[in-house]
């Protein structure tokens, strides 16, 4: 069993390939997490506009991208758009898909955070002479982010896990590299190794989240 799933010879042979994959997964996460967060920030700020011509399209946009499986979006960009003469490449497709999909999730979380700030605080801030933008930046957002921090972290965990979809469009990230190594060696050890790396990398965040979530629900 150990020979099959955790073969040391295979690990010695494949670790370089896997490690390159880990590097790319980290890089990809560093790009797509801020991208999704930025998308979410734009959506949540727009949600403050009460005009029905902004509100309804915005809600439809968010629900549309929450209903759409991210892999379908990615495949559409990667395999569909070339028919329209638009060949974007795997990396750009991943970036756009994550901006749209994870942006919708971040947007919902941030909106809930912003709505948790009492209107009186905004009135008070404005009456002291702060502008709209200043009120948002210095009064509302810092507290909003703090109030929904567990949800933001939980979503970030999901986004990092989601980078494994990059393997489907041949991005050389951790899962893709592990599958390459597996097909070269005819042995599942590289996949076990990749799973182990994901686990070791994300376990601390999962532990932290489970403690934060328990505390939040217990207070409710």
């Amino acid at each position: 069993m150990l020979q099959t799933f955790f073969n040391l010879e295979i690990i010695v042979a494949a670790w370089k390939i896997i490690l390159a994959g880990l590097g790319n997964t980290v890089l990809l996460s560093i790009v797509v997490v801020p991208l999704g967060f930025a998308g979410g920030l734009i959506l949540s700020l727009l949600a403050g506009v009460r005009h029905p011509w902004v509100r309804w399209p915005l809600m439809a946009w968010v629900d549309f991208f929450r209903a759409f499986p991210p892999l379908v979006l990615l495949i559409f960009l990667f395999a569909g758009l070339p028919f329209a003469g638009l060949e974007l490449g795997g990396f750009a497709c991943v970036c756009i898909a994550f901006f749209l999909n994870t942006g919708a999730y971040y947007g919902e979380i941030l909106r809930a955070g912003i709505e948790s700030i009492p209107a009186g605080q905004i009135d008070a801030a404005r009456s002291t002479g702060l502008g709209r933008l200043q009120t948002m930046l210095y009064v509302v957002l810092p507290q909003a982010v703090r109030n929904v921090l567990p949800d933001l972290l939980s979503n970030t965990l999901e986004v990092v896990k989601l980078t494994s979809l990059g393997s489907v469009v041949a991005m050389p990230e951790l899962l893709f590299q592990a599958r390459q190594a597996q097909s070269l060696t005819y042995n599942p050890t590289p996949i076990v190794l990749a799973a182990l790396i994901y686990f070791v990398m994300l376990w601390p965040l999962v532990r932290l989240l489970s403690r934060l979530e328990n505390r939040v629900l217990a207070r409710a």
């Binding site: 069993m1 099959t4 799933f5 629900d63 549309f64 929450r66 209903a67 759409f68 499986p69 991210p70 892999l71 379908v72 495949i75 559409f76 395999a79 569909g80 758009l81 028919f83 329209a84 965990l157 999901e158 896990k161 989601l162 980078t163 494994s164 979809l165 393997s167 489907v168 899962l175 592990a178 599958r179 597996q182 042995n187 599942p188 996949i191 076990v192 990749a194 799973a195 994901y198 686990f199 994300l202 376990w203 965040l205 999962v206 532990r207 989240l209 489970s210 979530e213 328990n214 629900l217 217990a218 409710a220």
Partner: protein, 226 residues
Amino acid sequence: MSSWDRFVETFFNAKVMAKYLPDIAHGMVVTLELAALVIVSGIAAGLALALLRSLGVRPVNLLIVFVVDLFRALPPLVIIVFIYFGLPAAGLSPSGFVSTWLSLALVLMAFSEEIFWAGITSIARGQWEAARSTGLSYGQTLMNVVLPQAIRITIPPLTNRTIAITKGTALGTVVAVSEILGMASSAVSNSYNPSPLTLGAGAYLILFFPMVVFGRWLETRMRWKR
């Protein structure tokens, strides 16, 4: 031909769509079957683990926490790939359908256990004691006092999480499950036209858009009741 016509011809080609509509419809049935299996088995397993955890046997609880953490930390696609491409090395060859079902059910089990557990612990200790002191057994207290309250709190987060995980059925396409995305992708390569993908996207929206709207409605509803 104007560029608008060309766009419609490419992405909304009626002929191609009509030809592959039965395929996509079949894919929709497979997606629905997979989704139903994942939801029922995942949530049932999660609830069972949360109940087991409430018994308070320390070694059992440590194991449960570890399993839950494991399936929260691993990307679903990695689990699918491991089951489908890895397990055959041990003489087991689950189909793509079973691999996808098992993976997503395990992930949903982990997330729902966590949510159910948080719900159970949110019920004040005094309620347990009061119920027990009136003569209710442990099981009766759990079933008649704690769970009815706990489940109410857990419904909104559980719904949203279930939708997010169920959307993962699209991952089955990586291991050759003939669900919507798989059917649409092969139709695209057979017809050299992306219209089946548009059709598939529509099919996903028909399935999941009402669920997302329902989740949003549930969330607001439960919020003002508190």
